[in-house]
Symmetry: D2
Subunit: 289 residues, 4 copies
Amino acid sequence: MERTTIPELEEILGKEVPCLDHGFVRLIDYMGSDESIVQAARVSYGKGTKKVHQNRGLIRYLMRHQHTTPLEMVEFKFHCKLPIFVARQWIRHRTASVNEYSLRYSQALNEFYLPELDVIRKQSKTNRQGRSSETVPEELQQKVFSILERTTQQAWEDYQELEQADIARELARIHLPISLYTEWYWKIDLHNLFHFLKLRLDPTAQYEIRVYAEAIAEIVKIAVPLTWEAFEDYVLYTTNFSRFEMDIIREILTQLPAHINWEELAKSKRLSSREAKEFVDKIKDHRNF
Amino acid sequence: MERTTIPELEEILGKEVPCLDHGFVRLIDYMGSDESIVQAARVSYGKGTKKVHQNRGLIRYLMRHQHTTPLEMVEFKFHCKLPIFVARQWIRHRTASVNEYSLRYSQALNEFYLPELDVIRKQSKTNRQGRSSETVPEELQQKVFSILERTTQQAWEDYQELEQADIARELARIHLPISLYTEWYWKIDLHNLFHFLKLRLDPTAQYEIRVYAEAIAEIVKIAVPLTWEAFEDYVLYTTNFSRFEMDIIREILTQLPAHINWEELAKSKRLSSREAKEFVDKIKDHRNF
Amino acid sequence: MERTTIPELEEILGKEVPCLDHGFVRLIDYMGSDESIVQAARVSYGKGTKKVHQNRGLIRYLMRHQHTTPLEMVEFKFHCKLPIFVARQWIRHRTASVNEYSLRYSQALNEFYLPELDVIRKQSKTNRQGRSSETVPEELQQKVFSILERTTQQAWEDYQELEQADIARELARIHLPISLYTEWYWKIDLHNLFHFLKLRLDPTAQYEIRVYAEAIAEIVKIAVPLTWEAFEDYVLYTTNFSRFEMDIIREILTQLPAHINWEELAKSKRLSSREAKEFVDKIKDHRNF
Amino acid sequence: MERTTIPELEEILGKEVPCLDHGFVRLIDYMGSDESIVQAARVSYGKGTKKVHQNRGLIRYLMRHQHTTPLEMVEFKFHCKLPIFVARQWIRHRTASVNEYSLRYSQALNEFYLPELDVIRKQSKTNRQGRSSETVPEELQQKVFSILERTTQQAWEDYQELEQADIARELARIHLPISLYTEWYWKIDLHNLFHFLKLRLDPTAQYEIRVYAEAIAEIVKIAVPLTWEAFEDYVLYTTNFSRFEMDIIREILTQLPAHINWEELAKSKRLSSREAKEFVDKIKDHRNF
């Protein structure tokens, strides 16, 4: 018996995917594959299911029904370089293992995040936590950039002065800005990684962490293509309607001609017959809650 | 300052809610309330938001957008008595604290779960993991009941014989059936409890654990009425459509008269104007992914 | 039945314990007590143990033998105000719930940590991660203080300028130093809190987080006095010897007069007879591994 | 760049290590090695530490000082077959991923644990949770064995009868004994695996789970030999003394000749000079708490 190996991953192992001005993500190690998810799912389903479900179908079934424990059987380890303010959002995902560069032990490096002019925006009026989709005058962009640059360089010079005076590193760093780059190893299983990606690929996530989420998504897509496809179809790009919203939709649908054959329609649109049936159950409210 | 107290909960504290033939659930202790969730959410939103969001609106907003960390601020501790096979499903929810009665230290009691005749069913043809919705002849029900009763009583007599021979308790118990009742204290926060309830209130959950989930749901409803309402509307009774299913729905909707004002319709059905706008975005696919 | 209440805690509920120059810790809510730990432990031990163990003895037994699951039955919720660099160390304790003030939603306040002159030290020569125990000349202290003060005030002025230009808050903050104060609600169970305290009360922990650990320790001591005492005796102030170190100790002890009665000696020093026996087993290596 | 590979592990991958009468443990997949732990530790320590610490020394330092986060970078996945009562103890280790054979989906197999005659013992008089070290008469062993065998075979026959009547599998199984074998995939990182092993290799752990812990320990020893050695020396075979016990030891040591050079003694017994210094600090109570 041999370990699961993904040849396409071996090629990109260790290669830096650049993120922002000085950051990167690189895959360092991994365990498992689409096949491992199938294997773990089948121990629950027992003998004789191999013929019934093909791998892709089984993975899609798991994802559609939120049977996510088999996803935990796949693990990724990344090496990341990222600004502290991004690290602070990222670390809130608790179900991961982290080893971070420590400024108590080691000297800081002169690397701070400075945004590209184009992503310098005003506060959004509609989204209290984000930035506006409108660009701002170049003059203002330049001014903001200058302020950020001046401030970080001053902080860096002060840090060097404190270092030269041999002040304890754990103190000499406390005035450094949260745009300073840090590094870490980050290890996480696929179930929890999908949760991270769902939140951090979202358009409302801060641009600077989204850049990292997108870099990781590209790697995961290569690693587990079948599971990634199912994740997009049944998790990432789904639409969830509340109880009241469904009332509206169902009321509207009664205005449609009665003879619409939803099940046939569904099958004509790439849904398997099992999915088509589930779809009709949802539309017609045949589920028993 | 005083601890959050929920007078309605104080009245039911410690009272057993019977479950199955010998089991129960009872609330032993709790921390927090609807108010604690609001308080935790507001530390993120900062000064000045108090007037903007009323409590109910804020809680509904959190639930609709899966901002679930404030839910972790509420904690419940239950005392439960349940058959081992139910305990085995239950314990798979890992983010909880458990102290269970141990048969290594203590003697087993003569309490085994025997199903009521009516819930003895055949294997479902459509749901590989469940039982059929059709009842079976009373004669068969009786026969099954007799087998289960005979078998558990034999196991109990054997256990007593081994106990009398002073065989180590950790060994004397190994032939006891998984229908034996056990007891535990179970402590969990509201976020993780909602996850448990979503899975275990589902019609596909095994009947015997659903009984416990329903008993707990009744208690939670009393404890955090606003949050429970939002949980029902935005989590428990929602409908999730895959990318392809939405394609079908959107195509069908193009066959409707163009002049339907979805936003007005939504407002006429109890949706707030903010929700109505979100609803239209979902229907029209205005979200930018 | 009523909730466990600790009258001594009710008195300090909500009161700020000042930490560093602008920070604080205050207990907001709690669940459980020494009594809850005993209750949870007894469900494992079953009927009839009540007379055998008194509460204090049972708690000490649990702590001595690392039976820590009953400790999870006690929960505390704190409101803390702390510098970002302290928050970054603190958040590494993953088994807790956190809601933090967000600078994406809310404006920063003009509050930065500036160390008292006396704690400004040089890098330790013996401890690569810490600061020296020797004081530095007052002149150097003043100089360091001035640098830190100047730098944070510059950052604050720049922040205000960016705010006035209505730059998105999530960007306007990125040059703010990690000495900026943040706030959060932090909820954790006693088992995990003890782990936090063991690490952060340690003399090698950074001074600025130790201040918070000490404030929390004082509160816990009031909340669960019996458990705290056992924590000090059997966890916090214990000494752990490696296999080889024990070889040395045992060899040295052979040089002592043979007639030393270790068990009697132990009993004369406050150890219970059970503990005295355990002590002799450890010294004489009577454990069977 | 290539994934960490451990040639010695590749040879045993997938091979069953028999446990009890029908059970086994086999390693299915893994990620990381001693080298990965060193790599993760060094990101914290930064540039320039490579020469100072050799790998073995660094790993021993980490283990001695409970810097366990780098251990989380190593992951193992096992396939196990084990009796339900063992699974029930095992699953209490929550920080692992599990996919278990489900008797709701699949038929039970006729495999039950029956103890070898020699491990059938009476209840221990000194250890309330365990079995006695004394053997019992062969006649009693035979009698116990017969009872267990008879009872499990009766349960099996009843199960078959219920299966033939097509009773729902989730019900037909409820009278099966906890000695029934189940199977699962179990994935865990090295830090949490060490915690599992420390508890389950302990002489007070139930014999039947200890058998599995020992099988896993043999595999881990091959996988990460340097880390395993450090685990034995600094965790598994250590001796922990309470505050009061240390008072006794220190008092006794004052009776020894004053001229004992503890540091030299330590060095003569395989301790590094750093460890020797730490040892003296512990003996003389030079640590500052």
